[in-house]
Assembly symmetry: C2
Homo-oligomer: 334 residues x 2
Amino acid sequence: MTVGEAGEKEVLARVLGQLSHADAAAVGPGDDCAVMRLAGDLVVTSDMMIEGPDFRLAWHTGFELGHKLAATNLSDVAAMGARPVGLTVSLACPRDTKVVLLEEIARGLDAACRTLAPGCGVVGGDLSTAPVLTAAVTALGDLEGRPAVLRSGAKVGDVVAYAGQLGLAGLGLSLLFAEAADDAGIAQAHAVAGLRASHPEALAAQLTPDPPIVAGPRAARAGATAMMDVSDGLSLDAARLAAASDGTLAFDSVALTAAFGVQGGQAVSVAAMLTGGEDHGLLATFDRAAALPEPFTAIGEVRQRGGGGAAVLLDGVPYEPRGWDPYRVLPPGA
Amino acid sequence: MTVGEAGEKEVLARVLGQLSHADAAAVGPGDDCAVMRLAGDLVVTSDMMIEGPDFRLAWHTGFELGHKLAATNLSDVAAMGARPVGLTVSLACPRDTKVVLLEEIARGLDAACRTLAPGCGVVGGDLSTAPVLTAAVTALGDLEGRPAVLRSGAKVGDVVAYAGQLGLAGLGLSLLFAEAADDAGIAQAHAVAGLRASHPEALAAQLTPDPPIVAGPRAARAGATAMMDVSDGLSLDAARLAAASDGTLAFDSVALTAAFGVQGGQAVSVAAMLTGGEDHGLLATFDRAAALPEPFTAIGEVRQRGGGGAAVLLDGVPYEPRGWDPYRVLPPGA
């Protein structure tokens, strides 16, 4: 059955049937708004993902796509040191889309919330039509009385630390474009199974990322001075944190390689770590005296930004930040 | 200059340049999340609008589109009895979209917030690429210590009241399809100027709706027992409120005609009032003893739902609810 055949009421009922209750929702889906009760200040972030530039249904199952939609937004909430409490999800698709695809996406959204951020769930959203599958997610978090951890708080001498996978998701995307896309960069479903078997860690990082959401509030409690979600490539996002904090982030390739050179059996180069994109791990800075909370690993330090100085250094040498620009970067196969 | 030529950083800077500060935003755009400080429970609603099914750039200026995006979402917040405090806005467009269009949309968003909900503003969002212009808005509101006004609280004997324009926006859409679209329903820009001159109220209601946002919290303070935003047609939304409250909404055509039969010089039929869509006024119920707050007008009463009884009556006769279904309804010209 397609969404055009089912109509909005039936599609909505089927999608809502996949969703668990969110603990903080005094009123869930079904009224003009959801109502949320929070203990502290609210954090809010929004993101839109569109079939073509942002994902390809030839590679993702609906469940995996829903999981990724949730995970990537929960990560932005965690990066403020907040606990995720709810998502709103707007889905638009062509009228000939199967209802079961939207149900699978909803199941993936719900599963990611339950796994990565227990107590969080989908509290509202919208259904519409569009030329291609389009998903807009807003994630809400509760600071629970803590101040938000901003990008701007890093101090000279702080330890630079990272939690999560690094470079694997970008490697997964490169593999998909190399092995599961035609010469024009169009995704081909048939080759994905082989890649899942040969490169399980890289494919999982790309298709169903599992960012360390609980590490966000943990870092805040441990006194993180600055933090951000790494989504566009470590070097590019590090340059943003460095700019916000008026410092330089100096990475150490030996520390990077020791911590992230082999992830789940998959070798990852330092270049892949610094430019991969879609990592959705947490980049944070801590006072040198602080004990790093699990699973953060030290990978560098904050230095003074010299006049005209670089935002990012690798082994003391300026490193040109590179990563993802939605309007400019073309996929590797294009 | 196109967004593809400018790149994300430049587009973002230009869009952010159009936006005012939101009073409740402790941290605005630029970090992983915005941070909002609220006095009471949070209400949250999300909506997605896509060029083609939801709007047509041949009819709307960018400013008007931004205004409408904000107004329609602010209205959902007001319908809970909450004060709007912030919007997040995700915009996706083709790479050859002019940057100035996104700037105009941002100006319209900001102007609608300043006019309709002073203190509210855009606090975050996202930029991406899509085959057609796509906008996803999330609106946040503060209940300021009041309980939310739900759809489910209407009691038998309550007065049914309405605030805002009614039927004009649907009339505007019909006029646009009749006079400013080709035989295939494709919007044609050249005829819009004439319609704006001949039917200013209907065109304004469709292109730049001005819902009575401040009336939402006012209704809550006046003891509204139930409330909702009317977006899909009064009869269809009334049936939803009736179902949630397990009652029947009985409309009086004399009262409807007296209050809404002529709006700004434009005659509106009762049928247009009941089925128009995109009104974004507030439908509310009040105890019979309550004084109706401005600008609410009584248009009916809540009655007991008989066994198998109708959700909506007009002059005592069952009225089949009709309105907008995004997956089923085709535009009049298609």
